[in-house]
Subunit: 256 residues, 2 copies
């Protein structure tokens, strides 16, 4: 017979909602309970599982998933200290050991969860797992692999490194898109013009390492064009960003 | 009857090759001639058009397209000064007026042309056009619209702005992907982990403006996480980039 596990979710935000939806897709998993300080955020699950805003009503399960804000994890976990089951948090930058429960772990799906998105397909989303005990790690792997093709064991340092890599590859990248859109707008050109290029660059590094995919004046060592661009950029902030990233590219390729 | 135009291409690099291939797709256009200093680079077109490395052999056409390196455009155009037809260059950062021909213009397809790619679909690639005379602009528009759905009139300043926007949205973005890959490698994690996120972010700004698409610790004003990340980043260069882009995001959203 197939495994049959009971999982409870704590929290009412994006991660909580998407994980709860995912659990409901798997007949061999049972969404035992959802808890949130305010019932309104989880009311939508009222006809699918037991929902509560009362800590005295928490039922034991095989796994508690804390999908709450980073700063709340430590204090909240103290309230679950009497339970014998495994408790995990879902945060990239919070060490496992802040958990005050008997058995602890981390279950970190690495993707930006937008509020807009109604359904998330976890299949290609990496899930990083960690646990204090080997048997709990094995269990988290089993659950993770029901959701995703990409479940990876990682300690708290590696998880933080991935979080930071994500800041570079996603948050900062989006900010550069914003700077591009401002430069275009100042010159009465639509942002639409760079959209195909943005997609092409993102698609390219799916196949070729970024080190090899680099193009542009900096990697060509084209000082003349770089200086023309710096003269053109009157915005001090844009000028600084252009300078720093160009220097960084120069350094990276100077011996090649 | 349909228009019937004769176009000659000068150059043997990526842009020259892709433009020549595109012209050959349109029965109403005739690839009159290809010129390059070295015949080897254009030999593949020998059975489709007249190829030459001899400037005295240049034939008149309706349009000369100079797809040669930026620095060569001015001098080379002098050698075509005796022709009465329109001559354009294909460069983002070169003003139209460096051309020494009687009739001048620019035909700038805005995309990074990789050597690897055998065929380019011009349909979604923006083409920026400029011409000294209105009738030539009209003619370039007609040709451009045979290739692309996105033909835009832009002066030399706008073309430079677009080029710079492309440096931010493509070249610098790729460099941030590289930094992410280094951070991961230093922590024994594969670059594969951020690939789905990279695609998601690029796809998101196809629909939502980057200003609204921003996520991450900086836009949340999460100083605690920002400081943890800066402590984690021992590489001085990565630390500088993190700091500057985080400050830039703070500035952008501080009054919101």
């Amino acid at each position: 017979m197939a495994d049959n596990f009971e999982i409870s979710i704590f929290g009412g935000g994006n991660v909580a909602t998407h994980l709860a939806q995912e659990i409901l897709k798997h007949p061999e998993l049972k969404l035992k309970q959802m808890y949130n300080r305010h019932l309104t955020a989880i009311q939508g699950f009222g006809n699918k599982t037991h929902i509560t805003d009362d800590l005295t009503q928490i039922l034991p399960a095989d796994l508690f998933i804390l999908a709450i804000t980073d700063d709340a994890i430590e204090d909240f976990s103290e309230k679950l200290a009497k339970f014998d089951n495994l408790t995990v948090h879902t945060a990239g930058s919070v060490p496992m050991n802040v958990l005050k429960t008997k058995r602890k772990g981390v279950f970190y799906p690495f993707q930006s969860f937008s509020k807009n998105k109604k359904q998330i397909n976890f299949q290609n989303i990496p899930i990083l797992i960690e646990a204090a005990q080997p048997k709990d790690l094995k269990f988290l792997k089993k659950i993770g692999e029901k959701f995703s093709n990409n479940v990876i064991e990682a300690d708290s340092t590696q998880r933080k490194a991935l979080h930071i890599a994500g800041v570079f590859a996603a948050n900062f990248v989006n900010h550069l898109y914003l700077q591009a859109s401002k430069i275009l707008k100042n010159n009465n050109l639509p942002f639409d013009l760079v959209k195909p290029l943005i997609l092409e660059v993102a698609q390219k590094v799916q196949k070729i390492p970024p080190k090899k995919a680099q193009t542009g004046p900096a990697v060509r060592g084209d000082i003349k064009v770089v200086n023309e661009h710096l003269t053109f950029l009157k915005d001090e902030n844009q000028n600084k960003i252009y300078k720093l990233l160009t220097q960084s590219i120069f350094k990276e390729y100077k011996n090649e």
